[in-house]
Symmetry: C2
Subunit: 205 residues, 2 copies
């Protein structure tokens, strides 16, 4: 579909697009900065369905995502798992074995016996470093697999550190007054309960 010659020019376009702070860019400006003609830019982008608006140009952010995806360097959203117990460990290992748009870049725990142990290529770090790790590793998403008594305070720390979304397994409501953080609560009991209902219903028919 996309010719090799076009693919080879994409990294040059990407470098310019990632460095600009502008929201939009014209094919003339992009071509000039990347070292190609504006016609070449328009022709290349048309191969993957990216079209600019006359006189205004292309939206930068979606273009970056598209090019990253084509080049396969689409770096997934960076994830921290908090609580390296049974559930946390099972989830970290599972993400390591499955392709997805996320990448676990930190696993933290409070227990000195657990800190320092390895889960695949990752080493469990100290939850005291939570804020530093979220900043340094640009973590946008967290998975909460701590006991119920620890969930609320850990969630507050994650929200204060700038995490945008939390997958919450602890059976308590978290961050009810922080609309800027997306919270998704998981309760596997509900799945079990639903199956139990079907099994019971089936018994009566």
């Amino acid at each position: 579909r996309i010719p090799d010659t076009t693919i080879r020019r994409l990294p040059a376009y990407l470098r310019v697009l990632e460095l600009t702070h502008a929201e939009r860019i014209t094919s003339v400006a992009l071509g000039k900065a990347a070292g190609f003609s504006s016609e070449q830019v328009r022709k290349d982008f048309a191969y993957f369905g990216a079209f600019g608006t006359r006189g205004v140009g292309y939206e930068v952010a979606p273009l970056v995502r598209q090019i990253r995806r084509i080049l396969g360097i689409d770096r997934g959203v960076r994830v921290m798992v908090v609580g390296a117990g049974h559930l946390g460990t099972a989830l970290v290992r599972y993400t390591q074995n499955n392709r997805s748009d996320t990448e676990v870049v930190a696993v933290v725990d409070v227990d000195p016996q657990v800190i320092g142990t390895a889960i695949g290529p990752l080493r469990v770090e100290d939850v005291r470093d939570l804020e530093r790790l979220v900043k340094e590793r640009q973590i946008a998403l967290a998975v909460l697999t701590v006991p119920d008594y620890a969930a609320r305070s850990v969630a507050e720390r994650l929200a204060d550190a700038g995490v945008r979304a939390i997958l919450n397994f602890a059976p308590v409501a978290i961050l009810t007054d922080r609309p800027e953080v997306i919270v998704k609560n998981i309760d596997l009991m509900l799945e079990l309960q639903a199956l139990a209902y079907f099994v019971k219903e089936g018994r009566d028919t």
Copy 2:
């Protein structure tokens, strides 16, 4: 809502209802067998919204369930967890701490190091005894937390032993040709993926 005098008569009705093989029973027949007048039966059942059909009577199975639930002896659906690794252990412990209509009555594994260990009040048993345990403990539901390579063969054994539904965490399709068993596949990566998508979308707005 329901008067104590009515509650005290319910076990007598329940004994009759559980012994009958009929699908329906009239208030006259039920009153006679339990030792009360047909008017008393109708009055008692009206308190919890159970009404019969004139000349036909009450449906037995839903009535049994309602009375069991009122008396709190509603025995949940009996569950076996197969695979007592990280995920299995986390799930068994979680069901033990939370009220639900299910009751884990067996946890099995293949690893001699794991067999015999305790998870709360339960001891891990040998997966070789799967068929015997499903029969003896009237297990209707199974949770599959084994590695992907073991999932299909274990699922076949569960279906052959008479299990009615399986909550499957292994990332492989199981029992595709056994319509009599309800299979619910769980993939927590999808939840993570969905959150990642929201976080990424948010970045562009």
